[in-house]
Symmetry: C2
Subunit: 202 residues, 2 copies
């Protein structure tokens, strides 16, 4: 167990800033790797296959479900999203920390399988701010945005299993709070103990 | 419960750098107040009554014990040290976070009475480094230093109830790790939930 990595799960409503925070974390935290999700939804402009998502067909996705290749998967707004179990396990065994950007239901499933996973919920400062961000992003129709807002409220209610809540009022502050959560996790007694035991000949 | 403060307990062997870390935390973290301990030991050069400690007589200390005025107290190397229960309670009720610099036994007592207290153990990078620091400090005789080193090893073994371990190899890094622990504690779901509930009308 000594050198095994940790799992950090980032969840939160669309438009809360999850993707930006994940990208900045990956730049700033050595030893952290991103678990690229599989999805059947079409790529947005600038999204790259194998980097942002693995974009696959519904047939291929269903086949992976049947083979038990997902740690968690979900169907959201008609599209499938899933996390590869083998990717996560291999990374942890190499001592890497794994970052997941998944929905609340998926996060709860990960926590059930990996009790030590650290769940972080990213929130906008208000529902009104979220609405503005979704409109500014121009990737969704008005109809989808209203659906997302309704779903956001449901998700917020259901974040009871989460360890931390970060309110993304400004990105700099939200990032430093998320970094603090990662740093504190690595400073937990059970993580440091093997090193201490060895260093002090206990 | 909504606006109540948190307790952060700093423990660790003499010479690990607890005092410096506490002083820097108090400068850098707003809302954090230091619980000034009572002691019967004579002040060191530069120590001020009411700031570093309340320096009192053994008779007065014993009288406070009998009146139940200590949250925790201990006798170390022939001197008494104690934390005022009324100071801590009043600060918490005002919503202040309280910083305690006490020994492992005292820390365990605090955790028994305040389960939410966050215990942080500060360690030197090695016993050899600790020996050097104690010699450089020139406040103890060689005999006392050897006693401190022996006691340090015992304390390290007994830090099992601690939440976090910070290794003070360089002060900048140790400080930022301790700050991260405080930031992460304030981002815990149960701390943020009242604010989230109100903001999102849940």
């Amino acid at each position: 167990m000594e050198n095994k990595g940790d799992i950090f799960v980032i969840s939160g409503p669309s438009g809360a800033g999850k993707t930006t925070i994940c990208q900045l974390l990956l730049k700033g935290v050595k030893n952290l790797v991103f678990s690229v999700s599989y999805t059947t939804r079409p790529p947005r402009p600038n999204e790259r296959d194998g980097v942002d998502y693995f974009f696959i067909s519904e047939d291929d996705f269903r086949s992976m479900i049947y083979k038990g290749e997902f740690l968690e998967w979900a169907k959201v707004y008609g599209h499938y999203y899933g996390t590869s179990v083998s990717f996560v396990k291999e990374a942890l065994e190499k001592g890497k920390d794994v970052l997941l950007d998944i929905d609340v239901k998926g996060a709860n499933n990960v926590k059930r399988l990996f009790a030590q996973a650290v769940l972080i919920f990213i929130l906008p400062p208000s529902l009104e701010a979220l609405r503005q961000r979704l409109f500014q992003r121009k990737t969704d129709t008005e109809d989808i945005i209203e659906k997302r807002l309704k779903f956001a409220k449901e998700e917020i209610k259901n974040c009871k299993s989460f360890d931390y809540i970060v309110i993304n009022k400004d990105i700099k502050h939200a990032l430093s709070e998320t970094l603090a959560i990662i740093t504190a996790t690595k400073a937990r007694r059970d993580k440091k103990w093997p090193y201490v035991k060895k260093t002090f000949h206990l």
